[in-house]
């Protein structure tokens, strides 16, 4: 970010522009440490060593438009976003959450109560609760409805980073792709396709605890593919790990209505946000066991091995379409602003 530059929507899109913004502004003085994980690492959450364990903590603001969408609302999203950022680091038992709410003057009480009920229900699913928070109100037109920021913490016995991949590892996804982004897009633009378009927003900590219990140390990397989608998440993992990733298009789990909308509007499923999915890097000998554990959980029924890591093409993601191969690009635009 230069002094003569201005913030664009792409700086919040989860792709290269956002990473560059974070690196050049917020993390510019970050120093890597052995006993802690922080801004220098740009992982899903930070961690500090406490005795034999790691205390993992993170924070996440939610600005989704509309605040209510098929499959969820901003309350469920706010809890899931933070719980999932902890869980993909290996902290699958969140000890508690803080929740800061900024409301617009005139916001309807009924909507606020619905959001609070969603927050409580999502916390119950994740086995945690909101323990502290903050409330602010801004004048009409000074903010669009509601913004919710959640902060969470939990312990991990072993940190699962996003840079642990090596050649030969498998890439596993816990379920179908693109559900959240396309559900919000369809609601926002009143687009209708045959079938049920619902956000996948969900807390994944119990699902990922099962995967870690089954795979142990063979689960070498995890990340939740939210903004920027699978394309951005895998680029980050490949770049930090120093491997290439080859995806098999035929094995990507995609629901029919999502596929239809993706074709209709010309937006690649790999570029679209998920709010209830995780990507796992797994040593190949344990892939079967991890997939079985994931599929035994209701949130992991559609889990698939979608690709593998290689030595060549370090930092790149390649898609095998069944006809030939091509690079997967990251989207760096204003594709779907305010998706989470």
């Amino acid at each position: 970010m230069r002094k003569d530059e201005r913030i664009g929507l792409r700086h919040g899109a989860g792709g290269p522009a956002m990473r560059e913004l974070v690196r050049s502004v917020f993390a510019r003085n970050a120093i890597a440490r052995d006993d802690a994980l922080g801004l220098a690492n740009l992982d899903d959450a930070a961690a500090v060593r406490v005795g034999e364990r790691w205390l993992v903590y993170t924070t996440d603001s939610h600005v989704v438009n509309p605040a209510f969408f098929p499959g969820g609302d901003i309350g469920r999203l706010a809890v899931s976003g933070t719980v999932n950022d902890l869980a993909v680091m290996g902290a699958t038992e969140p000890l508690g959450l803080a929740c800061a709410v900024v409301l617009e003057e005139g916001f309807a009480g009924a909507q606020l109560l619905t959001i609070q009920a969603s927050i409580e229900a999502a916390c119950a699913e994740a086995g945690t609760s909101i323990q502290t928070g903050d409330t602010k109100v801004m004048g009409r037109g000074e903010i669009d409805g509601v913004v919710i920021t959640t902060t969470g913490f939990g312990f991990a016995d072993r940190l699962v980073r996003d840079d642990g991949l090596r050649p030969g590892d498998d890439i596993v996804v816990t379920g179908t792709l693109g559900d959240h982004g396309f559900a919000v897009l369809a609601r926002r633009n009143d687009l209708r396709v045959e079938g049920d378009l619902r956000s996948d927003v969900a807390p994944l900590n119990r699902l990922l605890a099962a995967a870690l219990a089954a795979g142990g140390d063979a689960v070498v990397a995890m990340k939740d593919p939210t903004r920027g989608g699978v394309a951005s998440a895998l680029h980050e993992m490949a770049e930090k790990s120093g491997v290439g990733i080859v995806l098999d298009e035929a094995s990507l789990p995609v629901r029919a209505p999502v596929r239809a909308l993706s074709e209709l509007v010309g937006i690649d499923v790999l570029h679209v946000a998920n709010e209830g999915k995780a990507l796992l890097g797994v040593r190949p000998q344990e892939t079967k066991r991890v997939l079985e554990a994931l599929r035994a959980h209701p949130l992991g029924r559609d889990a698939q091995r979608i690709g593998a890591c290689c030595e060549q093409r370090s930092g790149r993601v390649v898609l095998d379409t069944g006809f030939g191969r091509r690079l997967v690009a990251e989207s760096d635009g204003e594709l779907l602003p305010r998706i989470c």
Partner: protein, 380 residues
């Protein structure tokens, strides 16, 4: 597709795709030293080829060349200068998002917007006309770019009696004439053309018969799914091998011989062909579409002639065209890999040439999808 998506996509059948690729390899086996050269003239074709990874598996005896098929890329710099001049003079200008960052002689519409000019991005000409209707007291100019497919939409809006404050700065181009030019370019050496299926759904495939007769080169109409493309390549290779030029309609579910008569009537009621420069290529006789006399009240060039005249008097700085090879790439003489700026000084974030700006530009597509690189990597 995995179980979650049971829908069968018949034009993406991988087995049939591989069978066609095998056939293409056999039929071009004797041309490995001098590959069969076919050209497509459509950015959406290059996108589809790239998206399905076809470029990485084309046989060595077949060369698929990208032609002047990106409407954004062939819009000439002086046409962009006109749009910039109108915007800078305070007039509200609406255009398609891809046009925003294409450099003119001095600057782009995005630059003008950064300096405070009112430049609106629209998804359709209809949206621009609605914008004019919503603010009837101020003029709104729609910078109308694109080939005959897009020009039909522009014509339809004029025929529906748009508001009086609405006008057009037209830079529409017409594909069939440029094929004549490219077919005659000695450096290009094209043996057959893949024509764009969506454009042909309007013009009909019959429009290419005179071309085939004049140049003795085959034309295939191609759709945008992998089997559409491979079937088009196969039809062309077959005709080239056997020396029987003709037109093959490989997109019959969309294209007829006559095309869409009503759309054609609308197009030619509003527009007439005129000569014009295609950026980086040359002057193309009948290659541009201009408003007919009875529609000139909607012509921004007439309405704002004084402002445009003032802008034209400012001399353009010398261009750096020598470095950028967009022109050669659109004429099929070079590929992005031949350009010294590609993957270095010219990227989508900081484009030097029009082909890196548009999502239909060859450089942009090769940058994103990897181009002709086979992308071989060892995975289990």
């Amino acid at each position: 597709m995995a179980e979650a998506a049971p829908a069968r996509l018949e034009f993406r059948d991988r087995d049939r795709g591989r069978a066609l690729l095998d056939a293409l390899a056999r039929w071009t086996d004797d041309r490995i030293d001098d590959p069969v050269s076919i050209m497509h003239v459509c950015g959406s074709h290059e996108q589809a080829i790239a998206r399905f990874g076809l470029r990485s598996v084309l046989p060595p005896g077949l060369r698929v060349i990208t032609g002047p098929g990106c409407p954004v890329c062939v819009t000439d710099a002086p046409e962009i200068d006109e749009a910039v001049a109108l915007a800078e003079s305070g007039i509200r200008v609406a255009t398609y998002g891809d046009m925003l960052r294409v450099p003119g002689s001095r600057s782009s519409l995005a630059d003008a917007r950064g300096e405070g000019a009112r430049v609106e991005v629209v998804y359709s000409v209809t949206q621009a006309a609605e914008m004019a209707l919503a603010s009837p007291d101020e003029p709104l100019v729609f910078f109308a770019t694109g080939f005959e497919t897009t020009a039909v939409a522009t014509a339809a809006v004029l025929l529906r009696d748009p508001p009086a404050n609405f006008s057009l700065l037209t830079a529409h181009k017409y594909i069939p004439p440029v094929m004549e030019i490219v077919a005659e370019m000695p450096a290009t050496r094209v043996e057959g053309f893949l024509a764009a299926g969506h454009a042909a759904s309007i013009t009909g495939w019959g429009v290419f018969e005179p071309f085939v007769a004049r140049h003795g080169l085959p034309v295939a109409i191609g759709g945008f799914e992998p089997l559409d493309l491979l079937a088009g390549f196969a039809a062309l290779v077959e005709r080239i091998r056997t020396g029987r030029p003709g037109v093959d309609n490989c997109f019959p579910r969309m294209v007829t011989r006559e095309g869409n008569r009503r759309a054609q009537q609308q197009l030619w009621r509003v527009f007439e062909p005129t000569g014009g420069v295609w950026r980086g290529i040359t002057r193309v006789p009948n290659g541009n579409l201009q408003l007919r006399a009875e529609w000139q009240r909607f012509d921004a060039r007439q309405r704002f002639a004084a402002r445009l005249e003032r802008a034209r008097r400012i001399p353009a700085p010398p261009t750096r065209a020598g470095e950028c090879r967009c022109g050669d790439i659109m004429a099929g003489i070079a590929t992005p890999a031949d350009c010294a700026l590609f993957r270095g000084a010219c990227t989508p974030a900081l484009p030097r040439g029009a082909c890196m700006v548009s999502s239909e530009g060859t450089c942009r597509i090769w940058h994103e999808y990897g181009g002709a690189d086979p992308l071989a990597a060892d995975v289990a």
